[in-house]
């Protein structure tokens, strides 16, 4: 009896959590007549890819299609990932492998800067981007997201670096490998899985971001996907079929990546909270 109640509660939670995602995909596959019918269809009765075809082939403004926005977002996110991964790996190696005077201060600073409300930095970063002449360019966003993703990336990667047994590097050093060689041949391959996990977080940060992209980009052809979606689909006469198709295309990569790394996210955010 109690078991049944628990399972029912579980199903309700699952329904509440997953329903909007299901509804997004389901709506994107319905013909418009079903979307706007007075009785909602739980499952598409006549599934169609028409909305996907519409957004992928049509132009949202002359000469600019959905794929262009997708590409802008991809350029920004991938550049952020590469730069942030590289810088984070160096810093993580420093804190995980060396003992030096400012080590603890650096770690505390990493935690503290993650508490800075990024929304409060829009105005000063807008100033900086204007001064650097980067206004209305994709590099303005790459730079911004690099700063936002770096502290968490270093924090997360340092655990991966620390997990590689030091003896392996010492053995390599005894065999005559230089520090650079040890780093490249021994440490890097072993940390690679951690680097992938960290990269996914940086990717999601950059891919999802809205406010800064909204503020730093003026030219519609350079919009990233989030900005394009609020701009083109935020109207009152919303045509939900294409909107849901676009939302699905935007969401799927994030969900796939996210599910690959979610375990690390929890352990990264609450690390050290439980005295095990």
């Amino acid at each position: 009896m109690k078991k049944v109640a628990l399972n029912v509660a579980g199903l309700l939670v699952a329904l509440f959590a997953a329903f909007p995602v299901y509804w997004m995909i389901s709506t994107s596959l319905k013909p418009s007549s079903e979307i706007f019918s007075s009785t909602p269809q739980p499952v598409p009765a006549h599934p169609t890819l028409a909305h996907y075809r519409e957004i992928l082939t049509g132009n949202l403004i002359p000469g600019v299609s959905f794929l262009d926005f997708f590409l802008n977002s991809a350029i920004v996110a991938i550049s952020t990932v590469v730069l942030s991964g590289l810088v984070a790996l160096l810093a993580a190696t420093a804190v995980a492998r060396f003992r030096f005077r400012l080590r603890t201060s650096f770690l505390i600073m990493l935690l503290v800067v993650q508490m800075i409300p990024l929304e409060a930095l829009v105005i000063p970063l807008f100033l900086m981007i204007q001064r650097l002449g980067l206004y209305n360019t994709l590099p303005s966003l790459i730079l911004t997201y690099l700063g936002f993703s770096l502290p968490f990336a270093v924090w997360m990667l340092r655990g991966f670096v620390a997990a590689v047994p030091k003896e392996l590097e010492e053995a390599a050093a005894i065999d005559g490998a230089s520090r650079a060689q040890t780093f490249r041949r021994v440490l890097f391959p072993l940390v690679a899985p951690g680097l992938v996990a960290t990269s996914i977080f940086s990717f999601i940060t950059a891919w999802n971001e809205l406010i800064f992209a909204l503020t730093f980009i003026n030219d519609q052809g350079r919009y990233t996907l989030p900005v394009a979606m609020t701009f083109f689909f935020g109207r009152d006469d919303t045509n939900w079929g294409p909107v849901m198709a676009a939302s699905t295309l935007f969401t799927l990569p994030v969900i796939i990546f996210f599910l690959l790394v979610q375990r690390r996210m929890v352990s990264g955010l609450v690390a050290g909270a439980v005295k095990g």
Binding site: L6, P20, L102
Partner: protein
């Protein structure tokens, strides 16, 4: 465990100055340099700059580029904000919204975490996967879907209310035809839907963290208490909660910080920055700075106020934790 106190090398470092100097290694500092520069330039400098900007009257982009003078107004921007009765509305919205959302997110997240811990293995995996979906969905698209669910003509909620028997609907709400009903028009209803969206997005993190915490607690304690006939309520407050207190502390602070600066969900749900009665601090700051006519200085001052509030929240928490550790 990864805590900050794990550096026992301090003792070893207290060697003779001569030896220490010989052993100073430049390499770690070189490795750290790029990260330090990036954090310094892109996070710390802007944090200082936002304070500086809040003391000036900045009303054009040309001032930002440095082509024009920056007139110093001291605390003028703060005086303008604090003397405006609208600021009280914004502050009230922000604080009430954050309080309601932290509370609801924590309660729902904790309940789901406890539930996941009790479910059978297959069921727990299924429910956890669904919960993950809500967490993984970007704030932007999650909000767009909820907006569609509350659409005033073909939305699911509008249909559900239309499906109520007319008599019942009239008796409860004074209307039976819900087609065309503006779900987002009254501030209270807007905030209720925004709360739904934000809680939907944020309870999974709480649930998964609480579950992770529960798994780290020896289950014998719970079993013993249960055998002794303690009610689930008592077991939670006497055993689970005290053991997981550090986890709950961190989760509450993180939730508070996140809920105080909600932006994307509100921006999308309200369709921009026009809906002033539902403003909260972060969107207020943004709208003052970037909606024409731009008032960057004023926006910066609001951003500083937001940051200070968050600082106080974090400070309170740190003190609370320290005091608890002193007592135990």
């Amino acid at each position: 465990m990864t805590t900050l106190t794990e550096v026992p090398e301090n003792a070893a470092a207290r060697e003779t100055p001569a030896r220490r100097r010989r052993r100073v290694d430049r390499l770690p500092y070189l490795l750290l340099l790029p990260a330090l520069v990036i954090i310094g330039v892109l996070l710390l400098w802007p944090l200082g700059q936002v304070v500086t900007m809040s003391f000036y009257r900045l009303n054009s982009v040309r001032q930002l580029r440095g082509d024009r003078e920056w007139p110093w107004v001291g605390l003028g921007n703060y005086a303008d904000i604090l003397s405006d009765p609208f600021f009280l509305t914004v502050l009230r919205n922000t604080v009430l919204f954050a309080a309601a959302n932290v509370l609801l997110t924590m309660v729902l997240g904790t309940l789901v975490g406890l539930l996941l811990n009790r479910l059978g293995r297959k069921m727990a995996t299924f429910v956890a996967s669904c919960v993950m979906l809500a967490w993984a969905t970007p704030a932007l698209t999650g909000t767009i879907v909820w907006k569609w669910i509350f659409d005033d003509t073909s939305g699911l909620v509008t249909w559900l209310f239309n499906a109520l028997p007319d008599g019942l609907s009239n008796a409860l709400f004074g209307r039976s035809d819900w087609t065309g009903y503006g779900w987002f028009n009254s501030p209270l209803l807007f905030f209720a839907i925004l709360t739904l969206v934000v809680v939907w997005h944020s309870f999974p993190f709480i649930a998964v963290s609480v579950l992770a915490g529960l798994k780290s607690v020896p289950s014998e304690l719970h079993e013993a208490a249960r055998v002794d006939g303690a009610s689930p309520w008592r077991v939670f407050w006497k055993i689970t909660f005290p053991l997981l207190r550090p986890v709950f502390g961190i989760l509450i602070v993180l939730s508070t910080i996140w809920d105080f600066k909600v932006f994307t969900q509100q921006f999308v749900l309200a369709g921009g920055t026009q809906d002033r009665p539902t403003f909260m601090l972060s969107i207020y700051s943004y709208a003052e700075a970037f909606s024409p006519p731009p008032k960057y200085g004023l926006g910066a001052a609001i951003a500083v106020i937001l940051t200070l509030i968050l600082l106080v929240v974090t400070g309170f928490y740190v003190r609370m934790v320290l005091r608890q550790e002193d007592e135990s």
